[in-house]
């Protein structure tokens, strides 16, 4: 009896070791094999098969997500204070607000139009988030059948960068690595609003005689084709760096020189090149604006925090740039 128990325990331990080693072998093969390897192919096939199931769960989860967002908005006092401040500014300058509304309409029309120098895949809908707790990825409902390939920029409107496709592209779906994922990186340039034809701030006087400062918009106005040409020279640039999301949860620009004249409110635009090397993204895609700039004497680079032009939670429909 005792011998049988010992034998069972030894057998269990042996099985545990063998299965653990098998798992480690699978992991090693997965990491070392290319994107066309068998394990990647299995995941790709499973992703295609799971698409309807994910879509169903997405449909079921959408009311809860909307409710969650509303709760988040209510709880976010900072955002509420900002909105209240903005409302006060609008109240103080009714005429200015009307002009801004017109301006907003024009910008919206600009965003809805396509950038002629880019070739876009059809408008895509977010199917579902995917991956584990250390990633920020979503699946969209366009794939190789629509001309989408791996590592292509994903935008909202015509030029707001929100992510890039990963290697997992099936005929009808593509996985998108969002800007907020820690593995996302893009070469960016920091440009003052004036370079983009955006007057940074305007002073207006209210009927009560108070002077208020109003920022016109957070979207660059100038034609992006011209912008791309200008970016090649980069004479007006406030600096260059690498856009990344760090583990503290904010998006930042790394490796910006300490002497760079970066200011709050500067636009963060993809640079498209690093020296002589073409990067993954075309130049001129807007990522966001500089929220804060800081540095200490011991630092080698400036610490720059970026407010993204769009929140990942707000994404519904996107487009993949398949050629530029």
């Amino acid at each position: 009896m005792g011998r049988s128990r010992k034998s069972n325990a030894a057998g269990g331990l042996a099985a545990l070791v063998v299965l653990c080693v098998t798992s480690l072998v699978l992991f090693t093969v997965y990491v070392r094999e290319g994107d066309q390897g068998p394990l990647h192919t299995i995941q790709l096939g499973a992703s295609e098969v799971l698409r309807p199931v994910r879509g169903l769960f997405g449909l079921a989860a959408s009311p809860f997500q909307a409710a969650g967002e509303r709760v988040e908005e209510v709880l976010d006092t900072r955002e509420r204070e900002e909105l209240e401040q903005r409302a006060r500014e609008y109240e103080e300058g009714a005429a200015e607000a009307a002009r801004l509304r017109q301006e907003n309409g024009r910008l919206r029309a600009l965003l809805e139009g396509e950038q002629p120098s880019f070739e876009y895949a059809p408008l895509a809908r977010i199917v579902a988030p995917v991956g584990g707790q250390l990633t920020e990825r979503v699946v969209i409902n366009v794939g190789t059948n629509d001309g989408v390939g791996p590592e292509q920029p994903v935008v909202v409107g015509n030029n707001i960068l929100v992510g890039r496709t990963t290697d997992r592209v099936t005929p009808n779906t593509a996985e998108v690595l969002l800007v907020t994922d820690r593995n996302f990186a893009a070469g960016v340039r920091l440009l003052p609003p004036e370079v983009l034809g955006d007057e940074p701030e305007q002073e207006s006087t209210t009927p009560a005689g108070e002077t208020t400062t109003v920022r016109e918009s957070t979207t660059p106005r100038r034609d992006l084709t011209r912008l791309r040409q200008d970016l090649a020279s980069a004479e007006d640039s406030h600096g260059e760096g690498l856009l990344r999301t760090n583990w503290e949860g904010y998006i930042g620009v790394d490796y910006v020189d300490l002497h760079a004249e970066v200011e709050q409110g500067d636009f963060v635009i993809t640079s498209g090149r690093a020296g002589d090397r073409e990067l993954l993204f075309p130049p001129g895609l807007l990522v966001g604006t500089v929220e804060s700039v800081s540095s200490q004497d011991i630092d080698q680079y400036k610490k720059i925090v970026v407010t993204p032009a769009l929140k990942a939670d707000d994404l519904e429909e996107v487009r993949v740039i398949i050629g530029w």
Binding site: G12, L16, T22, S23, V25, A128, P129, Q133
Partner: protein, 168 residues
Amino acid sequence: MPGQTFIVRGAILVALAALLEAALSPFLTFGWVGPKFVVLGVVVAITNLRELQALLLGFFGGVLVDALGGEHFGVGALSGILAAAISVRASAARLKGEARLVLTQAAAVAVYDLLGLLAPILAGSEGPPLGRYLFGGVVPDVLLNAFLAYLVGGWLLRLVTTKEERWT
């Protein structure tokens, strides 16, 4: 033949849990915290199974998660095996019922999270700072999943282990 019944029910439970993990968990994951259905499935399903059967079932569940999810292949398999091993040890330590489920689930989820942290680092990516991840990710995740096991574990356990009564 009750042993075979347990295995079949357990395998179905683990397969369903893997499907939920791949398709539903991303919707319910906030930051580093989310439900680990497959760990719960494995912990429940291996009740009344022998050690080898339990380990194989854990491996099966983990491989399914690896295939259906988009993470590094092999990490889910290893997590499934370790969840099964922990659960078997808990049974051997005479822990029974929901107490075993809750404690095993907590331990297995902690292992699962730590493996999830280790995998991208081994693959060459960056990981979050360990201290921040432990207190902001692992601990709340363990608590959430232990609570989940407390809520539904008993019911699932009855579903898997109830013996069929034959008409005579």
